[in-house]
Amino acid sequence: MVRILSILVGLFFTVALAWSFVLGAITAATEPAPAMVEHEFHVAPKNVHFSFDGPFGKFDNQQLQRGFQVYKEVCSACHALKHVAFRDLAALGYTEAEVKAIAAGFQVPGTDPNTGEETLRPGMATDYFPSPFANDVAARAANNNAIPPDLSLITKARHHGSAYVYSLLTGYQEQPAELLKEFPDAKTPAGLHYNPYFPNLNLAMAPPLAAGQIEYGDGTKASVDQMSKDVAAFLTWAAEPKLEKRKQTGWPVLGFLLFATILGYMSYRNIWADKKH
C-alpha cells in the first residue's frame, strides 16, 4: 500500500517535471533565447598580481600609502569609506602625528557645543571617514542619478574584487564597432561611459584618473595603471585590514594541526594494532 501510494506521488512529480521539461525544450528549440549585450561583451577582470595575493601575501605599505593618496585626492570626492577610521591608517605605516594630521584634513559632522546646531569640525583620529554627501538623495542629485557606492567593502563585494577595481579603472574605452553592429539599440546613453568590466557595460562614473593627476610622495610615476593598481590595493586593505594577520595566523595553526593529526593517527594505529577490522 505504501509502495503504491509512493509510486503515485512519484508519478505526480515526475510527470509534472517531464511536462515542464518538454514545454521548456520546445520553447528552447523554437525560440532561441535573445542574445544579451551584457553576455557577449562583459569581460572578466584582468589578470593582475598584487603583493597580498596567495597564502604568503603581505600588504606593501608604500603601495597602500600611494593608494590612500589616490583615494583621498580623487575618489573621496564622491565615495565614502565609512567603515574605516582614521586611526586604522596607522596600519599603513603612518605615525600617530601623521594620522592626526590626516584626520584634521577632513571635515566631519559635529555639533556646536553652544548652540547645538549641526556643523563641521576637523576630524580626529577616532573619527571615521566622512561621507561626501549628506544622504542618498544628495548623492543621487549630484551624480546623474547614480549613487556612488561606499568603498569600504568594495573589493569583497565584487567577484575578484581587487582585480575588478583595477580593471574597471583602467578599462574605459570606446564602445566597440561590433557591439553597435550587433546591438544597434545598445549605444551607451549620454552621461554614461562604456566599460566592459562593469556588469551592464555602461557606467555612470566618468573615467576618474588621468596620467600625472597626482604627485606621489615617493616619486613613483603616477600613470593611470599605477594609480589604479595602488588604489585597488588600498581598497583591499580597507575591506579587510586583518587579511595579513589572518594569513600569518593560518600557517602556525595549520602546522600544529598537521602535527597533532599525525600524532593522532599514530596513536590510532597503535591502539588498533592488535585488532583486525
Partner: protein
C-alpha cells in the same frame, strides 16, 4: 540497551562510588562513549561523520554565542555591527569567519552523513527512529542556517529572506497573509530581523535536544556497519573506548586541518560577494542565489516552470522542494529490501552510483547557476530522477532485486571463514 557482553561500570574510587549512587553521570559516559559501549569492529571512515557533525554543532554554538555578543539585530546597524566585529573586536574576524564557514562545514559533514545512511541502509529497521530524528535535525539545520544568513543584513540576506518567505505565498488563499505574518510586515525589516535573530539563537539548542534523542535512539540497537549484518557475538564488536575514541580523535584532527585551511586562506570562497553590500530594498542583486548547501533544493524549486493542470508552477515548485526532503521521512517504508548495505545489492548500487549521485551533483551545480538554459532543463531531468529514485525506483528495486550472499557475521567478514582465525584474537590476548 546494550549487548550482554558489554563491560560493566565498576567504580573503584570511593568518590566515584558515591557519585554513582547520587548521579550516575560517569556510568552514563562509560556506557555511551566509554568501554561499556560495544561497537561493530568493522566501521569504515564514513562512520566518523556523526562525531564530526557534533564537532560542527559545538563550533557553531560557541562561535555563535561570541557573534551574538557583538551583534545588534536592528536593520539600521546590523550590517555595521558585523563589520565592527570583523575590524575592531579582538579576534572578531576569526570568530565571524569560523561561524560563516562553520555552517558550510556542518553541511558538508551532514550531507556525507546522510548519504552514508542512503548507501548502507542505515534508515532500516531497527533504526527507523534514528533516521527520522536525523531528518528532523536536518530540517532544523536548514531553518537555522537560513535565518543566520539573514542576520548580517546584506543584499543576499535581505533578498533571501524575501524570496524564502515568498515561498509561503504560493499556498492558495492564505499564502500572502502567512508571508506577512512570517515577516511581521510587507517586506523584511526590523520585525523580521529581530525574530530571525531570536530563533537563530534558539534553534541550535533545539537541535542539541534532538541530537541527544538521535544518539539515544542509536544506542538502543547500536551502530549499523558496512556489511549491514547485525552484531551476533562479542567478537563482532570492540569497546568504543579506546578504539573508536582514537579513530574519531584523529578524524577530528584531519577535519580541523581542512577546515582551518579554508578558514584562514579562503574564508570568502563559499560566500557570495553581494552579501558585503548592505541590504537595499530598492534593488535586487543581478543573480540571486542561496548559500551553496541549499542549491539542490533551490534547483528543484526552479525546475517547475509550467503549470500542471490546475496547480500553478510556483506552488508545484514549493511542494516539490519541501517534498524532496519530506520523502526521506518515508524511506524506511519505501525501501523494503531485507538487506541493508548497498554493497550486497547489485541493482540498488547501480541506481545509487549512476543515478542518485549524478542527479544530486547536477542539482548542486544547477541550483547555483543562473535560471537559464541549459541549466533549467538539466535540473528538470535531475529533479525527475530524484523523485523517481526515492518514490518509484526504490520500492520496485527492493521488491525485485536478488541480493548477493551476505557474510554470516561481522567477524566472518573481517577475518574470513577460517575457524582458527576467528579464535585468534582471544588467544593472542592471553598469550
Amino acid at each position: 540497551m546494550s549487548f550482554p557482553w558489554a563491560n560493566e561500570y565498576k567504580p573503584s574510587h570511593p568518590f566515584m562510588k558515591w557519585m554513582d549512587e547520587k548521579l550516575p553521570l560517569p556510568r552514563l559516559v562509560y556506557n555511551s562513549v566509554g568501554s561499556g559501549y560495544p561497537v561493530p569492529r568493522n566501521l569504515n571512515y564514513f562512520w566518523n561523520f556523526g562525531i564530526l557533525a557534533l564537532v560542527c554543532l559545538t563550533l557553531q554554538i560557541v562561535t555563535g554565542i561570541v557573534m551574538a555578543m557583538h551583534y545588534a539585530a536592528n536593520a539600521q546597524v546590523a550590517f555595521d555591527t558585523v563589520e565592527h566585529t570583523m575590524r575592531d573586536v579582538n579576534w572578531g574576524w576569526l570568530m565571524r569567519y569560523a561561524h560563516a564557514n562553520g555552517a558550510s562545514a556542518f553541511f558538508v559533514v551532514i550531507y556525507i552523513h546522510i548519504f552514508r545512511g542512503f548507501f548502507y541502509g542505515s534508515y532500516k529497521a531497527p533504526r527507523e527512529m534514528v533516521w527520522l530524528l536525523g531528518v528532523v535535525i536536518f530540517l532544523l539545520m536548514m531553518a537555522t542556517a537560513f535565518m543566520g544568513y539573514v542576520l548580517p543584513w546584506g543584499q543576499m540576506s535581505f533578498w533571501g529572506a524575501k524570496v524564502i518567505t515568498g515561498l509561503f505565498s504560493a499556498i492558495p488563499l492564505v499564502g500572502e497573509p502567512i508571508q506577512q505574518w512570517l515577516l511581521g510586515g510587507f517586506a523584511p525589516d526590523n520585525a523580521a530581523l529581530n525574530r530571525f535573530f531570536s530563533l537563530h539563537y534558539l534553534l541550535p539548542f533545539v537541535i542539541v535536544g534532538v541530537v541527544i534523542l538521535h544518539i539515544w535512539a542509536l544506542h538502543i540497537p547500536g551502530s549499523s556497519n558496512p556489511t549491514g549484518v547485525e552484531v551476533k557475538s562479542e567478537s563482532d564488536t570492540i569497546p568504543f573506548y579506546p578504539y573508536y575514541i582514537a579513530k574519531d580523535g584523529w578524524a577530528v584532527g584531519a577535519f580541523a586541518f581542512l577546515f582551518c585551511a579554508v578558514l584562514f586562506f579562503f574564508p570568502n570562497a563559499l560566500g557570495h560577494p553581494d552579501n558585503y553590500i548592505p541590504a537595499n530594498p530598492m534593488s535586487t542583486p543581478a543573480h540571486i542565489v542561496p548559500e551553496w548547501y541549499f542549491w539542490p533544493f533551490y534547483a528543484i524549486l526552479r525546475a517547475f516552470t509550467q503549470d500542471f493542470f490546475f496547480i500553478p508552477a510556483k506552488l508545484m515548485g514549493v511542494l516539490a522542494m519541501f517534498g524532496s526532503i519530506l520523502v526521506w521521512f518515508f524511506l524506511p517504508w519505501l525501501d523494503k529490501s531485507p538487506v541493508r548495505s548497498g554493497t550486497y545489492r547489485p541493482m540498488f548500487k547501480k541506481f545509487f552510483w549512476f543515478g542518485l549521485i549524478p542527479a544530486m551533483a547536477v542539482l548542486f551545480y544547477c541550483g547555483g547557476a543562473p535560471a537559464e538554459e541549459p541549466f533549467v532543463m538539466l535540473s528538470q531531468i535531475a529533479s525527475l530522477y530524484y523523485f523517481a529514485h526515492f518514490l518509484i525506483i526504490l520500492p520496485i528495486v527492493s521488491a525485485i532485486e536478488k541480493p548477493l550472499p551476505l557474510p554470516y557475521s561481522i567477524t566472518e567478514s573481517v577475518l574470513g571463514k577460517d575457524e582458527a582465525a576467528q579464535l585468534a584474537p582471544a588467544q593472542t590476548a592471553t598469550a
